[in-house]
Every structure is written in structure tokens, then in C-alpha cells.
């Protein structure tokens, strides 16, 4: 126990004295600060800009009524900033009504009717004289011409809706309604309210996502660090002295718990600064739903997050430590930790896809929430985004705790055997054989 304390102390100091570790932590906190202050700074800049514009406007009025020319120039300038959309209607009736409807839908563009032939229209679009063009074939069909089609291009959807409206309007008017009546029918507003009696997946999605992603990053990052740490001691032959000075279980637990604490401190700094800076800038964030949901995480969920985080971290860190002890060189770690990393990534993918698919209670997720290597992510996701009976949670946690202890003991045994094996990579069989004797 005394040795464990000494090792924990030594390893923790290694983390906190490591410039890279300190640097990354400060950097992350700084990034969070920048993000959290962003709306405040933006609104300050906008306010500042508005004030100068106001004062300039005041200035012009003061100078007198010569301002007419300037206004004309201003509107011209506005015309220049607005892009142009060409609309070719052929000999369809009500062309101007359609143009106006489209003009109202495309706020940032000026929709212009054109009599040009198809060639000329295409040339204008290619030359970017017009942003795009709609060539009507009939009241219900058209061709959309655009130079480079962006993946976010939803212009056809906008035009479809406008055309659908126009057609409905025309049909209603043809049936004898006046224009006002027809518009009244079309613009009926439907109101609704949703009451979720279980969990609101929309609301929980973001912090579950953040938690799962942090777990993923921290486990991979710190797991690799534990493995590298052990392999470095082995390759620098400090291990020769360590194995004769300390018990392998103390070494293993000391290292893993130190890395867990270091990771925790780092997360605490990151999330702590996020909470601090959010509260400083709360009013500028207004009612941003995503941010509000993240910071409005319920307390019981936070406790579950801590439990699964720590247990999930341990189970992987122990295995990474064992892998590190089997590597002869630090470079070997990447390849030898591959199976473990893949197992972890597979668990992560299952959880992520289930989350995005909205079905967190699928059979696969239920199974995963009891398998110790996936349960930290899977069970937490289910608790956060669905309603899970308490005994299921308890069972999952108990299985996880038992597995952590089991994996810890086995890893310490592998470590004890592994650290003294140099040269060729040992076969799995020979490791187990040596472990039985150890």
C-alpha cells in the first residue's frame, strides 16, 4: 500500500510536470474560453458597428439635403450586392405574379424575368452574371440551371414550394374563391405542443454525445499514454530495477490510477472552464437550445457519467498497461494495441450509430450495455436517452466493477511476466503459461 502511494505520487507528478500535458490543458481551456466569449464579443462588435453607422447617418443629415444622391448610390450598391436569378417563363400567363412570389422567397437575390434563349441563359449562368436560372416548361415543371451545384443547394425545394403554393392558389381561385379567401385557406397556421413523459432525446443528445466523445478521446489518449509509459520503462531498462523494487500490482494500479486522475483533472479543467465561462456569458448565449441542454444536464446523470467514466477508463487502461509491458520497443505499441483499439472503436461506433438512429434500446445496445468493454458507453447512452430500470443499471455497474477488478489482476500478472520478456514478441500461449506460474 505504501509502495502504491509512492508510485501514484511519482506518476502523478510526472503528468503534472510534463509541459505537453500542461500545455494541452491550458490550450483546451483557452479554446473553451474563446468559444464561450464568442457571442459576447460578436454582439459587442455589432453594437460598435451599429453605433458608428448611426453616427455617420447623423452626420449626413446634418450636412443637409444633398443626401439624395447618396441614397441613390446606396440603393445601387445594394443592387450590386444582391445576386441575380434568371426566370424564363416562355408564354405562361401570370409571369409577374410568379416572379414576385419567387422574389419574396429568395431574400438575397433579385429574380428577373428574361426572354433570352436557353443558350444565352446558360452562358450567363456559367459566366456568373446570374447566380442560377429557372426555365419553366409548364406551371408544374421547370429546369434548374446552376454553375457549380453545392451540396447545400436547396433552391429547387424553395421553388417547388412556391410553385406548389401558386398552383394551389390558382386552383382555389378557379374554383370560385377570391384571392384573399384562397390565401387565407393556404396560410392556416397549425400549432402544436409535445410533452415527453420519458426522456427527450433531442435535448439529451448533445451532452450524451459530448460525454461519449470525451470518454472515447480520453480512453484512447490516456490508454496509449499508460502503454507508452510502461514500454518506455521497459526499453530504458529502468524496469530491471522497478520489478525488483515494487510489486507489479502496485506498479500497475499506481500507473493506471495516476493516469485516471490526470485525465480527470484535465477534463475537470476543460468542463470547469466551460461552465465558468458559460455562466459569465450566459445572457449573450440567450436561449440557444443546444448550449442550454448541455449545461442543464441533470445531477443524477452526471453521477452516472462519473461512474461509467471511471470504470470504463480503468478497464481499458489496465489492458493498455498490459500491452505496454509486452512490447519491447515503444514503436511496437501501435501495432500491439490495435486489437484493443478496434474493440473500443467498434463499441463507440455501435453507440454512435444507435444514438443518431434514435434507437438506443435495440437488442444490440441492450447486449452492449452489459458487456464490460462497451457498457460504459452503451449503458450511459441508454440512461441518458431512454428510460432504463434501475436494476438494469445496477447490474451493468456490478458486472463492470467485477470486470475491472478481474482485468486489473490479470493485467498485473501479464505485466509481471511481460516486463521481463525482451526481444521477440511473446506468443499468447507462452504468456498464459508464464502467468499461471507467476
Amino acid at each position: 500500500m505504501k509502495q502504491f502511494g509512492t508510485i501514484l505520487d511519482f506518476e502523478l507528478k510526472n503528468y503534472f510536470k510534463n509541459r505537453l500535458f500542461v500545455g494541452i490543458t491550458i490550450f483546451l481551456a483557452a479554446v473553451i474560453a474563446v468559444i464561450m466569449f464568442f457571442p459576447r464579443v460578436m454582439s459587442m462588435i455589432e453594437d460598435g458597428g451599429a453605433k458608428t453607422e448611426e453616427s455617420e447617418a447623423d452626420g449626413t443629415t446634418a450636412e443637409g439635403n444633398e443626401a439624395n444622391g447618396t441614397t441613390a448610390e446606396g440603393s445601387e450598391a445594394d443592387g450590386q450586392t444582391k445576386g441575380m436569378i434568371l426566370l424564363s417563363v416562355g408564354d405562361m400567363p401570370n409571369a409577374e405574379a410568379l416572379r414576385q412570389a419567387l422574389n419574396a422567397a429568395f431574400l438575397n437575390y433579385e429574380v428577373c424575368l428574361t426572354d433570352d434563349d436557353l443558350d444565352a441563359i446558360q452562358k450567363k449562368v456559367i459566366a456568373e452574371a446570374a447566380a442560377c436560372a429557372f426555365v419553366m416548361d409548364s406551371p408544374t415543371s421547370y429546369t434548374y440551371y446552376v454553375n457549380n451545384l453545392s451540396i447545400y443547394d436547396d433552391n429547387t425545394a424553395v421553388v417547388n414550394e412556391v410553385l406548389s403554393n401558386v398552383n394551389s392558389l390558382n386552383a382555389l381561385m378557379a374554383a370560385g374563391l377570391t384571392a384573399e379567401e384562397a390565401e387565407g385557406v393556404l396560410s392556416v397556421e397549425i400549432s402544436n405542443e409535445t410533452v415527453s413523459l420519458g426522456k427527450d432525446q433531442m435535448q439529451n443528445f448533445f451532452y450524451t454525445y459530448i460525454m461519449i466523445f470525451s470518454l472515447y478521446l480520453v480512453i484512447l489518449l490516456y490508454g496509449q499514454m499508460v502503454a507508452t509509459n510502461v514500454a518506455t520503462e521497459k526499453s530504458s531498462r529502468a524496469m530491471e530495477l522497478l520489478v525488483t523494487s515494487a510489486k507489479p500490482t502496485s506498479m500497475m494500479f499506481g500507473k493506471v490510477i495516476a493516469s485516471c486522475l490526470a485525465g480527470f483533472v484535465q477534463l475537470l479543467v476543460v468542463f470547469g472552464s466551460a461552465i465558468l465561462f458559460y455562466n459569465l456569458n450566459k445572457e449573450w448565449w440567450g436561449d440557444n437550445m443546444i448550449v442550454e441542454s448541455i449545461f442543464g444536464m441533470p445531477m443524477d446523470l452526471f453521477v452516472f457519467m462519473l461512474i461509467f467514466f471511471v470504470l470504463g477508463f480503468f478497464i481499458y487502461a489496465f489492458l493498455f498497461g498490459a500491452i505496454g509491458s509486452l512490447a519491447s520497443k515503444v514503436e511496437d505499441i501501435n501495432t500491439s494495441s490495435m486489437p484493443l483499439t478496434l474493440l473500443f472503436v467498434a463499441g463507440f461506433m455501435i453507440v454512435m450509430f444507435s444514438m443518431q438512429g434514435g434507437d438506443v434500446d435495440s437488442l444490440l445496445m441492450r447486449i452492449c450495455s452489459y458487456v464490460p468493454f462497451t457498457s460504459p458507453m452503451a449503458m450511459f447512452t441508454r440512461i441518458a436517452m431512454s428510460t432504463v430500470p434501475f436494476y438494469e443499471i445496477l447490474l451493468s455497474i456490478l458486472i463492470l466493477i467485477a470486470s475491472v477488478v478481474g482485468v486489473g489482476v490479470v493485467s498485473a500478472k501479464i505485466y509481471r511476466v511481460g516486463v521481463l520478456l525482451y526481444g521477440t514478441k511473446p506468443k499468447l500461449g507462452s504468456i498464459f503459461q508464464a502467468m499461471r506460474k507467476a
Binding site: 509512492t6 530504458s236 530495477l241
Partner: protein
């Protein structure tokens, strides 16, 4: 205090590394554990230090199984290595604390030894900024700073310049005088002869020879003659197969029996012009080569 190994056996998989090793050492004595590479020295040391358990046999202190919480062991491994990028004082204190010292005690002990080995100026430097010899002195501190009852030194003199070797000799002698058990493992026989009262020679996991050095030498069969002569070639021709030439030009003559030495001496001094003739007394090196050498291979050759 008496350290005893009784019939210690160990196998790794199919390979039998130790086939029943027994020896004993008492406080205030140095013991040489010799053998070629792969003979089983490091395995013996690791069993002694409880890195792994023996398959059979016992390790005893004063007749009882070793209580590792009470018996301090210091170890200078042959494969040197500490944390290259960490401050020297930090890692020395760490190792002393791992051996059960309190922080304050550890700091005092480390400072004492840094001073004793003229290394105080490197106290706050990183290990990898030091020369190999100085790194070795730092490593030595990890073996003795916690004031262990048993000190195990594996090739302690390799890589040291004569001045540092002298310093280390003094330190080793002090440790022996303090009543500690010092276990040496080395291939530099002159150091073993200088410090050790007893030796054990391991050969392929068996004890080829064990006992006090002067006893071993005294009991050595006196059936070889060393001859220095201008007419060495003529002597070699005359005696044939029983005669081998040594590196310094001397001839080594193997007699059929110890009793034949007087007759051979008389015969040679009568027949040839002899500068010197004496009974061959083996050095530790000779004994080592004879007992640790691979006889099977020699016969095949």
C-alpha cells in the same frame, strides 16, 4: 545473518534454467556468483529477490524463509537503466521510497551518497546529460541508498575509469565492513578475487563449483608444470601432446599424475636450458574457464 539457497530449481516452459542450486553467504562476506552468459546467474538473482518464485527449493535467511518486508535487498542490474529524462534526485528518492524509506530519510540518504560518490553537482540534472560512468554511479546509489542487508552487484565495475573503479572498491569494502552480504556477479575475475571469500560457478543451470577461493586453489590438482625456456619449441617437440604453449611464451605441461612432477622437473632441467620451472597454480580465470567452459564443445572441436 546467513543467506542460504537450497536446491533452487526453475524452468521457463520446456527449458530448465536452474537445476538445483545451493550455496550460502554470511554477513560481512562477499560472494562471487560466476558463470558464462546464460548460465542462470540472473535467474538466481531474480528468485533471490522474489521477482518470480522458484519451482522448487528454498531461499532462507538464518534458516527461515525470507521475509521480504524485513530484509532489505539492493540490486545493481547488469542491464543499467533508469529514467533518462528525469531529474536525478527525484528518481533516486523515488527508488529509495519504493524500498520503504520515508521521504525525509530518502532525501538524506540520497544526498549522503551523492556526496560520497562526488556526484552532488549533478543532483538536479537530468540523467541523460551524464556520461556513462557517472550514470553508473547514480545507478549504484539506487542499490545502496536504502541501506539494504543484502547488496547484489551485477558487473559493478564495467564502464568505470580507474579512479571511479577505486571509489567503487572503497564503497564495496565499506559495505562489507558494515556487515552486509555482498553478492557479486562479474566476469572480471581480478575484482572477484580481490573482494570475494567464496564463489559459486554456474554452468548450464548446475553448480559446477562452489566454495572458498583459497580452498579451491589449494585443492586444485597440482599436475601441471609451467616452463619458461629459450628452447621451448624443442621441449614441445620432445614432449608432444601433453604440452601446450601459453600466450606469454611459457609452456604448460600436463602430467599424468601429481606424483610425476618431480621426475619431469629433473628430466627437463637435465636435458634443456631452463630459465624457470614451477608447479602451475591456477588463477580464478583458469578455474572459471575450466568449470564454466563448454566441455562438450571443446571435445567436439
Amino acid at each position: 545473518m546467513k543467506l542460504e539457497l537450497k536446491n533452487v530449481q526453475k524452468s521457463f516452459g520446456e527449458k530448465e534454467v536452474l537445476k538445483g542450486i545451493s550455496f550460502s553467504v554470511e554477513s560481512g562476506k562477499a560472494f562471487g556468483l560466476l558463470g558464462r552468459n546464460g548460465a542462470g546467474k540472473t535467474t538466481t538473482i531474480r528468485i533471490l529477490m522474489e521477482v518470480f518464485a522458484a519451482d522448487g527449493g528454498q531461499v532462507l535467511i538464518d534458516g527461515a524463509p525470507v521475509d521480504y518486508r524485513k530484509t532489505g535487498i539492493g540490486y545493481l542490474p547488469e542491464e543499467r537503466g533508469l529514467y533518462p529524462k528525469k531529474k536525478i534526485v527525484d528518481q533516486l528518492i523515488y527508488f529509495a521510497r519504493l524500498h520503504g524509506m520515508k521521504r525525509q530519510e530518502a532525501t538524506e540518504a540520497v544526498d549522503y551518497w551523492l556526496g560520497r560518490l562526488d556526484m552532488m553537482e549533478y543532483r538536479n540534472k537530468r540523467l541523460n546529460t551524464l556520461s556513462k560512468g557517472n550514470q553508473q554511479k547514480i545507478q549504484l546509489i539506487t542499490a545502496i541508498a536504502h541501506d539494504p542487508d543484502i547488496v547484489i552487484l551485477d558487473e559493478p565495475f564495467s564502464g568505470l575509469d580507474p579512479v571511479n573503479a577505486m571509489l567503487l572498491k572503497d564503497v564495496v569494502r565499506e559495505e562489507i565492513d558494515k556487515g552486509k552480504i555482498v553478492l557479486f556477479s562479474s566476469h572480471q575475475m581480478n575484482y572477484i578475487e580481490e573482494f570475494c571469500d567464496s564463489i559459486a560457478i554456474l554452468n548450464k543451470g548446475t553448480l559446477a563449483l562452489c566454495g572458498e577461493i583459497h580452498e579451491i586453489k589449494r585443492n586444485y590438482v597440482r599436475d601441471k608444470l609451467v616452463v619458461r625456456s629459450e628452447s621451448a619449441d624443442a621441449i614441445a617437440d620432445a614432449l608432444g601432446g601433453c604440452c601446450t604453449k601459453r600466450g606469454n611464451g611459457e609452456l604448460l605441461i600436463q602430467l599424468e599424475a601429481e606424483e610425476a612432477k618431480r621426475g619431469m622437473m629433473e628430466q627437463l632441467t637435465k636435458t634443456f636450458d631452463i630459465d624457470e620451472i614451477r608447479v602451475f597454480e591456477p588463477s580464478l580465470n583458469d578455474i572459471f574457464v575450466e568449470y564454466a567452459g563448454d566441455h562438450d564443445e571443446g571435445e567436439k572441436a
